[in-house]
């Protein structure tokens, strides 16, 4: 590979694992063209982009999934850990390989739209595939958080996963019996939830996803909640009632979540909690 020392990709992956990544893969920047809209492709962020390095990890621990307190998953702070791995890899590519590297910001470009879809990047880097519930699931480790680095370095790319983690065998059996799956059952779009889908020839096909409603659950206490309470307060003419809104539990918790943003990234895990493929293969006591 011109310009890159032999074993550069393997060495980079090894660094990623040492830094705390559970999985690491590489996608070709060109692979995004068929899937991502213009403006949200690697070359739009870094001219001359050749590869996208994706790391996954800092997923909830076995204990987190077993926890009965809703606050454990809602306030745990693990997502930042995978972002630090991404940042470290970007620095390493520039300092050791001499190629441009851009750490994909985890925030949004506008509204809820990311600069580059990290889930798409994970799929194209062969690290997982979309589940019926939405998140990309890795076959060995299940649900995880992602970080990505776009680089001009022509790294060796990985192939897209041939077999997907979803639907898991127990879900296929459940579908045969009940025409639903654990995730569809826990959050059904036709009964106040977010998800609808079918299994066709053993493959998951999502037919509907209510992103706006999902947002009220995943980001209950977040920017949207802040805006809603502020609007309600300004529309309220009674001063005592305004105080109840601005000093109340919902608004206070929302401000805590915004302030301690890194530990409140996701506030709903119900579709993943019931997913047999989401928690990884390792058994815990």
């Amino acid at each position: 590979m011109p310009g890159l020392p032999p074993g550069a990709t393997a060495a980079l992956k090894s660094s990623a694992f040492q830094a705390g990544a559970t999985v690491c893969g590489v996608a070709s920047a060109a692979a995004f063209d068929a899937h991502a809209p213009a403006g949200h492709r690697p070359g739009d962020l870094l001219p001359g982009a050749a590869s996208v390095v994706v790391v996954g990890g800092s997923q909830p621990r076995a204990g987190d999934w077993a926890a009965t307190s809703p606050w454990v998953l809602q306030t745990m702070g693990t997502t930042e850990r995978i972002q630090s791995v991404g940042r470290k890899l970007a620095q390493q590519i520039e300092s050791q390989l001499g190629y441009y590297a851009l750490y994909v910001p985890p925030g949004t470009a506008s509204g809820d739209t990311p600069f580059l879809s990290l889930m798409l990047a994970a799929q194209l880097a062969g690290l997982g595939s979309r589940s019926l519930a939405g998140p990309v699931l890795n076959r060995e480790h299940g649900f995880m958080y992602w970080s990505a680095v776009i680089t001009t370095a022509p790294l060796e790319t990985d192939t897209v996963e041939g077999e997907s983690a979803c639907p898991a065998p127990p879900c296929r059996e459940m579908w045969e019996r009940e025409r639903t799956t654990p995730c569809l059952k826990t959050c059904p779009a036709d009964d106040g939830g977010c998800l609808a889908g079918t299994l066709e020839h053993g493959r998951a096909v999502r037919t509907f996803y209510d992103a706006a409603r999902c947002n009220t659950r995943v980001h209950t206490h977040w920017v949207g909640g802040f805006q809603k309470v502020l609007e309600e307060t300004l529309n309220e003419t009674d001063r005592d009632r305004r105080k109840m809104l601005l000093y109340g539990d919902f608004f206070t918790r929302t401000l805590w979540a915004i302030t301690y943003s890194s530990t409140n990234i996701a506030q709903c895990f119900e579709c993943m909690r019931v997913c047999p493929a989401a928690h990884g293969l390792k058994e815990m006591k």
């Binding site: 809603k228 309470v229 309600e232 009674d238 005592d240 009632r241 105080k243 109840m244 809104l245 000093y247 109340g248 539990d249 919902f250 608004f251 206070t252």
Partner: protein, 93 residues
């Protein structure tokens, strides 16, 4: 509808009792009660107690107390500095 709205009348009726029973004013030998325990004691539901407590925590001192806090810290730090660092020039006037 919107988010849970506490009736100001309920708030005014129970805020002092809730503040007294929770951890707002602590005694080292007597830990404050949880919202659930306060609810049982006052015959209210837990959600209402949580709401009363949250509002009361914010409400119990006026914003002027925050302004006083700024001055308190400025003076206390300088007084300590003058004494501990042997810098009498720092003593607040």
């Amino acid at each position: 509808m919107g988010v849970f709205r506490l009736d100001p009348a309920i708030y005014n009726r129970y805020k002092d009792q809730v503040l007294k029973l929770c951890n707002s004013f602590q005694r080292i030998d007597r830990p404050g009660l949880s919202d659930r325990q306060i609810a049982e004691q006052l015959g209210l539901d837990e959600r209402t107690v949580t709401e009363i407590r949250c509002v009361a925590e914010r409400d119990c001192y006026p914003l002027e107390e925050w302004e006083k806090a700024i001055e308190f810290k400025r003076k206390a730090t300088l007084e300590w500095s003058a004494l501990a660092l042997k810098r009498p020039d720092l003593k607040p006037k």
